[in-house]
Symmetry: C2
Subunit: 257 residues, 2 copies
């Protein structure tokens, strides 16, 4: 059994309920969004129009819960450590198993995640502050609007990693290869330019230390899909809990040019 | 009026009914597929699963005929020089105006085209034989199956450009940047490896000269979508006529990394 499959098995058996950063290193982790088929075209189109925050890695067949392309045999109803259930855009509960919510009209979308390029940053000798400080990555809502569809719209949500000036060009080079995992940064420098007032108060995740010689660098973030769901208020939506990702069988390198 | 808009205007006025290679140089040209909304999710998913032959550039809103993202103000019912109408997978007619076929449930998909990277090849001093010989590019059906969806499947269709050995690496480099216009080649060398028996008998387009020192190089081709339509037999499908493309307002460079 591959390293990735063994982690999914632990989730399925109810033995793993922790955030997944650092687990199954080198395997691609993914955001999950589950929606009724009636919204599937619009949501896929929203992702297609906004590939930096929402790079699609796999879409399950209608009613099917197997990720045939990125993890054959996996079951998205049980193989993530933790889920959020939304009714009409409102969070109803968090749970470790969504079999009782499953319906024959549901479609699962698996979306790339920045963990893939963070491994590459570490391998290139670049700082990844929230990993150094054992925190969740800080995420912020920006004043940049995604390209909408008729039913889905969202402000772009970004993650932030502070870097010294002499590491920034290399960080652009290293991460831009990972175009299916958010790719290159969307902004470097002044947070106010993109509508962020206080880096010390992230909208999601944890604040991290920014040293005197460091500049904040911002990447598009998959949490954008959750904001889109809060706005669209579908009768049912299921997502992973932030940080509790789906671990696929893909290798990080498969998300690069 | 931009160069691209003026060509679309000529089409709309019924004054342009020629293939579009070489027209509005530097502007992105696109394949068109129009399908009923009932098939839109499946077709978008087929394209998403097969981005090399089917790189999506724009998708119109249901019932709308304006390409809001890549050519605001354009009308896909009139602004291409020539169209094909398919009923249940069978070619019914070719026409220069599809307004009488339009319905409120139709969705238009605009898909990248190799003309974008051919300009880049020429700029890099590489041979593009069918342009030298003033022919249509030769296209072949391969034995490579695209990743299917429940309703759409297709063998990969490829275009072929012969190159001397010392130009092949450069051709890979130059074209791979154009990831929204089929990108890097899918095969270099022996045609039989991908199921092509006779380069002198292309399935679409024209045969071109292959010189003694030249090796055939194969790129994924947007005609793959037409094969998928022939197989799926939707009650209605409309496409451009091969070579009679949609001219967008995008610059070729916008399709690169």
């Amino acid at each position: 059994m591959s390293n990735s499959a063994s982690f999914r098995q632990l989730c399925r058996q109810g033995k793993l309920d922790t955030p997944t950063p650092g687990l199954a290193l080198g395997f691609v982790q993914a955001n999950l969004v589950v929606l009724p088929y009636s919204l599937a075209f619009e949501f896929l189109l929203f992702c297609q129009r906004n590939p930096k925050p929402c790079p699609i890695l796999d879409v399950t067949e209608v009613g099917d819960f197997e990720t045939k392309l990125i993890a054959p045999g996996a079951d998205i109803r049980t193989d993530l450590p933790r889920y959020k259930i939304f009714h009409h855009g409102e969070l109803i509960t968090e749970t470790t198993d969504i079999r009782s919510y499953w319906r024959n009209d549901l479609v699962g979308f698996l979306i790339g995640c920045s963990f893939s390029f963070e491994n590459a940053m570490l391998n290139a000798g670049l700082s990844v502050r929230h990993i150094e400080e054992k925190k969740n990555v800080p995420m912020y809502q920006t004043n940049i609007e995604c390209i909408p569809t008729q039913k889905f719209s969202s402000p772009l949500v970004v993650s932030m990693r502070p870097l010294p000036a002499n590491q920034i060009v290399r960080a652009v080079e290293v991460t831009s290869r990972y175009y299916k995992a958010h790719g290159s940064p969307i902004h470097i420098g002044n947070p106010e330019t993109i509508g962020i007032k206080d880096l010390g108060k992230p909208d999601y995740g944890d604040a991290v230390t920014i040293k005197d010689n460091e500049i904040p660098v911002f990447w598009a973030c998959g949490v954008t899909t959750q904001t889109a769901i809060l706005r669209a208020k579908p009768e049912l939506a299921i997502t992973h809990s932030p940080g509790y990702m789906f671990i696929s069988d893909l290798q990080d390198e498969s998300l690069t040019f």
